[in-house]
Every structure is written in C-alpha cells, then in structure tokens.
Symmetry: C2
Amino acid sequence: MDRNFFEKTLERWEELAIRGLRTGEKAECDAPDVLERIIVAGMGGSGIVGDFLSDLANHYSWPFEVLSLKEDRIPFRPREGDLIFVVSYSGNTLETLSVFNQSCSASRCIIVTSGGELLFRSIASGKCSLRLSEGLLPRLDLPEILYSILSFLTSNYKIPNIKAESLDDSIVIFKEDLKHQVNELAKRFLISPPILIVSRPYFSVAIRLKNDLAENSKLYSSIEFLPEAAHNVVEALPYIGDPNRIFIVTGKYSWGNIYIEAFSKALNGKTGYIELKGDSLLQELIYGYRLSAYISLELSSLRGFNPCTTENIDKYKEELGRVLSH
Amino acid sequence: MDRNFFEKTLERWEELAIRGLRTGEKAECDAPDVLERIIVAGMGGSGIVGDFLSDLANHYSWPFEVLSLKEDRIPFRPREGDLIFVVSYSGNTLETLSVFNQSCSASRCIIVTSGGELLFRSIASGKCSLRLSEGLLPRLDLPEILYSILSFLTSNYKIPNIKAESLDDSIVIFKEDLKHQVNELAKRFLISPPILIVSRPYFSVAIRLKNDLAENSKLYSSIEFLPEAAHNVVEALPYIGDPNRIFIVTGKYSWGNIYIEAFSKALNGKTGYIELKGDSLLQELIYGYRLSAYISLELSSLRGFNPCTTENIDKYKEELGRVLSH
C-alpha cells in the first residue's frame, strides 16, 4: 500500500458514503424508543464519528446528547435511554473490545465494523451490527462509518435539520475540487506545523486534521479549543517564535462568532485560516475531512513518507496485545 | 502584583484549602436526593475543578457522572438528577454568566464565586452560593475552589473512597517540599517546551500544567491523552526533532498501566517523566497542581516575565465585553 492506494481509496469516498447510507437505512437494530444519549466508543480513525455527531448534535440542538469516548471503558453506568455505538473498523482494537465486553451485556449496543474479533463477539452474543467494506485502511473508510450511523439515526428518529433526503443531497460535496487549497496549506504546514484553533461546530474537523497529519504525514500538530483557549494559551501564543503556525478553522457558521473574533483581536489578527466550504454544516464537515486527507497525503510526499504505513501505531498495538495475552 | 505576590499566595494554599473545606461543609444548598450527574461550568482557572472531579469520579467509580464544561452553554437540556456548579472566581466571566442565564432558572445550580456580576445575579434569583476569598488571582485560589465543592459533595452524599476525614488528612500534601523537582523540570522546559502525555487518573494535572505554563510563563505546550494518542500522534512524535519534549505524567496509579507502557515502548522509551507524589489520588492531584504552579513561577523568572499579568487574556475579555455590550 502506498500513495497510489491512498489516492484511489479517496476517489472512492462518494461510493463509500452511499454504501454507508444504504447500510444504515436497512439496519434493523434494537434502539431506545426515547433516545436520551448516544455514546460512541472508538479509537483513532474509528473514533472520529463521535466527534462528528457531537458537532452536529450541538449545532442543531438535537433532542439527545452525544458523547464521544476514546477510552477503554465507559466511565459510568449506561442508562435506559442510552444507545452505544461500538466502532472498530478492523474489529480488533483492544480498547474498543474492552468497552464491548464491559458494556454490551447490559446495554443497547450497535457494532460498527468490517470484521475481526468484534464481529465474532457481536454475532456470538446476538448484537446487531452495521457491516463496513473490507480491505481498506480504517481511516480511509471514514465516509462509510459516518454515513451508516447517521443514516441509521435519521431512519429511526426524528432529527431536526438532518432529514434523510438532505443526507442524500450532501453527497455532492465529494465532487468539490480542493486542489488549490490543498497545495497552499500543505506548503505552509511543511514550513510551520500548525497549531489549530477551533470553535464549535467544527471541532471534529480539527481533530481529524491533526490525526491525519500525524498518521499520514508523520507531522505533529496541536489543537486549541475556543472559547477555553482564550483563557490560557492565548497568553503564550505570541511567544512561540513562528506566528505562521496559528490557523483558525472556519466555515460559514463562524461568521459573527464572538469568541473567534475576540481571540483573533487579542492576537492582533496574526492568524491564518482554514476555510471549509459547503451548503450545510454536514457538507462543511465532510469537506473538512476530505481537505485533511488530501493535505496530509500531499505532505506525506513532500516529507518523503508512505501515507499508508504507521509503524509506531503498529508497534503500540503489538505491545498492547503482547501484554494482554499474558 | 509580581512574583512576590504570587509566591506569597502559594504559601497560603493550605489555609485556602481549609477555608474551602469549611465553606463546603456548612453550605446548605438544594441538591438532588439521587445525584446522577454533576456538571461543572467554568473557564480557565475556574474550570479546572471540573477536570479534578472527573479524575476522582473516574478512578473511584463514583455513583454519579462528572462533566467538565468549558463553554458558554450546556449543549443539552439538564435533567432532574443533574447538579450544576457554575464557577467563576471573578464572577464576571462572560461565558460562565451565559451558562448561568441559560441553565439556572430551570435547573439546580450552585454558584462558586468571590463576587462580581455572578454573585449579584445569584442573590437576585435566590440561588445558593459557595463564597470564595476576595482579592486573589483566579488561578491562585484553586485550593479553595476545589475543596469547597469537594467538601460540599462529601457532606451531602456518600462518596466511595473520599470521606470527610480523608479530605482533612489530605491537607498535609501542602507541606511537601518540591524544590528539587521544580528546578529540574523548569530548566528542561526552558530548553524544550513539553508535549505532555497523560492517562487517567491524572488528566487534570496535565491540563493545569499546560494552563499554568501559558498564563504564568508565557510558554506554549501541548497535551496528548492516552490511550487515544497511541492511535495517532505516536506516529509523528519520533519526527518532532527534539525528543526531550515528551514527558509522561505519572503517579502511583500509573504502575501497570498497560497503555502507558505500550506507548512508551512504541517510542523506544525515549520519554521524560513528571512524577506525582502523595498517599492518595487526592494528594497526588494536589501535589501536581502545586508542582505546576511552582514550575511555571520559576520559568516566568527564567524567561523574564511577570507571572501575575496576562495581557492577551485581558485583551480577549475586553474585546468580548465590548462586542457583547453592543
């Protein structure tokens, strides 16, 4: 697997989104009548869907809460109105299997996976699953993961501002040409690894970008969330030496965001911008994930890395498996 | 206000903790009979208490959830079993006042403040408050904020492993001598701004350290949370150029933490450590906050900054106030 495989899969993102849409629509899984909370458990590429749903829920004031969980257990006892999505593309993520074991006997869980141990256990215990396409890199099956869960939710619940038809409509964003923005940002990040400043409803885009830069380009970046960042790190940012590192993630819902504006003024406007495009928040978020993938792909070439291999993550997983098998 | 004022207040931390203890014990505030969730809303120095309670709740499997909220609104409708602590030392934090206005008419709220607009509004609306000492920097009244809330909770609820007497006992940690560790870490951070790696139950210490370094030393650092960090940034860390930047925050509950061990092995053990001391998790956390304060104080001198002034945060607050008053 190399840049070519990566690029080819990116070209399949629209198709993967449509597959996800159909999977979620058709799934007949047990879910609470009155949904009070969604808990999404998943690590890395499989975990980003929790942040994605959280951005949507927050922005559209969904009638249920969304909790994105990137740990090996749910730190409290789930309740009657909770629905847990246990997401692991490979089905072999040890932290996520641990959540499954600890939470899915007593609670309503839906498994999202392409196979592996998680699928095996979910079948053995009679749990419902949303099956993903096999043979991809976990982080590259993102559209299928996002759309399968989102379409399951819209098919089973009335969700303000996200109707089934608007899901179908959102697919056009996969055709948007990003080349110019990708080239410009990749060149800037090559010189100055970014400090990403982000405010709701775009948290998930910054998280995905940071992760893509790490996994695909082997580039370390960091994120600061507004408004909290304006109460601490804003004090240190003028002294980082390279002011070109600061980028604010913005979209059409950032206009008139008083926290971004006050933060930017406190830094005398010395900030770059990463602009998301699209007709709806859903489109802007997908645009952001695509932008992240392409920027990190471009940067992997500029820095001379294979975007598909992740030696250190593999080493971690191997070591964790070794310890747990004893 | 200068280093001298800062240092003098740090010497008062034990006294402030005891004041907090007494305030929390005596307070007669309306709270749910069956507490299902605590939501702590606060920014910067006033917000760290949410992370502190979250570390404790998670580690000791408290029978209620803890949510640390550093935003201008609660992103869902609070329920019957929720208790909201609205914390602003000054009482004039605009984001926190916004949470108060949006959430405290229909929900159970306890105000934690030294005065300002928040105290005024809480009195006007008949809300209960835990009053803090006046005339300090918000981030320097930390022990009073933590202990007042914690002692309110232990006085009103049965909380596993945190009994009232163990709160009193924990106070000895304020006498621990930190000088050697402070000097060593301050010198290392001066050369290499740290990337802090942290796992539960020490999240709040890393967050506090990052914030103290920014506010007091004007030094930008970043945090990575385990196990999630092992699924993305571990891939980029070997390429940051300066391997001396990586520090793992550990304490006695880190022994045998398989996620830390596998992460460290994936990096071939090339990591520094920040070791917390104490007889209990509570003591270790307090130790960590004291360590953060002293390291950032020492670094402020080494870097030639006044630890008390925060020009850019002040500019942000002024700008935000200006926009909101229009």
